[in-house]
Symmetry: C2
């Protein structure tokens, strides 16, 4: 079975629209502000994707475009301005930033209740402690898809490849919060295949094209491919899709798998932020 990320995202969008209608009865339109520094084409594309998704469900969105030479003070000042605005419920700082800017410091400046990417230490800490509020969108999307698929996480063997701050580490904590048994592998792991073969759930976020071959996957596994690699004219994942699709119970394609799910979680969290700022 191919996990259709676009189809799942549509379901999330439908649910999100209902919540937005309810907010409208309270006179509230959820607002998302994105902050983009510089003119990196990939970043511009991601920002565009996020704004079209907002438009589809009825989230008001705006982009703050900053010059690549912007000073740290100016960037932080802009974020603080967005923190103070009542019509902005979610703030998203597009990464990466130019080298002269400190991403960690900028992230910490976003008010935790508006941090729809879930990267603020306070939100990450709540996540680790099992009191999840706003959490990183890719892990959230994977958990959401597993729930939609009816996969029981308690006691399942989950194997994650990649230990980044954005996917691997927060997803490991979220899986543990749901009582999965969790293994986290990465570039330093000695025998990767020995680990991946154990995964009833296998999530790959390594950034290495076709890293995971058919003989590295447990028959019947649920496979999530977070990789987005440009190889020639093609965009491919970290999993050898053609080989693995016949072994796995279910697998996400690239593109059209984890990507749309991630964007849909951003919408969902923006609405969640608007709800909690409205009803506090």
């Amino acid at each position: 079975m191919i996990i259709d990320g676009k189809d799942m995202a549509s379901q999330v969008e439908a649910e999100t629209r209902t919540r937005i209608e309810k907010l409208a009865t309270q006179g509230v339109v959820p607002g998302l502000a994105t902050v983009l520094v510089g003119t990196d084409p990939a970043s511009q594309m991601y920002i565009k994707l996020k704004h079209s998704a907002c438009a589809r469900v009825g989230i008001r969105s705006e982009n703050v475009d900053l010059h690549e030479d912007v000073s740290e003070d100016q960037l932080l000042g802009k974020i603080q301005e967005l923190n103070r605005r009542d019509d902005v419920h979610g703030i998203l700082l597009q990464l990466p930033l130019p080298n002269h800017l400190d991403a960690r410091k900028a992230m910490m400046t976003i008010a935790p209740e508006k941090d729809v990417d879930g990267f603020h230490p306070e939100n990450m800490g709540a996540l680790l402690l099992g009191a999840e509020k706003l959490v990183p969108c890719t892990p959230k999307g994977i958990i959401y898809a597993l729930e939609l698929l009816g996969v029981k996480l308690e006691g399942i063997e989950a194997v994650l490849v990649g230990h980044s701050n954005v996917v691997g580490k927060p997803l490991a904590a979220m899986m543990l919060n749901r009582n999965a048994t969790v293994q986290v592998c990465h570039a330093y792991t000695k025998d990767l295949a020995e680990h991946t073969r154990k995964g009833e759930i296998l999530v790959v976020a390594a950034g290495v094209p076709n890293l995971i071959k058919g003989d590295m996957v447990k028959p019947g596994a649920y496979v999530f491919d977070v990789g987005i690699n440009r190889v020639g004219d093609e965009t491919i994942g970290d999993v050898d899709f053609e080989a693995v699709k016949n072994i796995a119970s279910a697998i996400t394609p690239v593109p059209g798998g984890v990507g749309p799910l991630t964007v849909s979680m951003l919408l969902r969290q923006t609405v969640q932020a608007a709800e909690s700022q409205t009803n506090k």
Copy 2:
């Protein structure tokens, strides 16, 4: 080899004393305030141990004794008072609290820079993000011991049993920050032995007396037993010490292993907090 937690703790204390002497030249005496609610004998014992350790190295310590019927407002007010005091650099709230009090809320009231137990979401989040500041003392003690033993963590197979907020989850993140491959098992894990046998490092924090038998341990492993179980008149760990000591490269006994290491990390973090509050 038996890992002598008391001996390692003495080394930490010696190093801590040197740092305290340096602070004295700046006119600063590190101060720790503990907060104890009620009269639980185990909690009283732990508090006493921590105060004697402070006395040994030259940390000024005081205990705030609160009645078990104390209101939430009174507890939080007391913590805020300690937050404001310049002579208190570290605050430790002894757990568990009586049922009518919200431990999470109380923890969040402690100023992050004085949170020497590392339980505040902001400190937990910084830990998960790889920017460790004040962290939970038991995981910190285990990492410290491994460094003293000269064990290279990069690429090592670490298996943790137990996924609590105090040990398992933060230790998993700390191991990942050091590029270990990490497996986290717990009460919901289907075949525990299959996992534990893979651990070049095995940390057990399950609270189940003698859970780990000899045939569940990889020959040559480093074994850390975090369990403290009263069985009859004896205090025993989660590891069958007599059986495992002949299989492991090194093992911590109970008592006298992880316990003293944990207390020594509390001293170390109190001094660290005093240093950063002095030099900010």
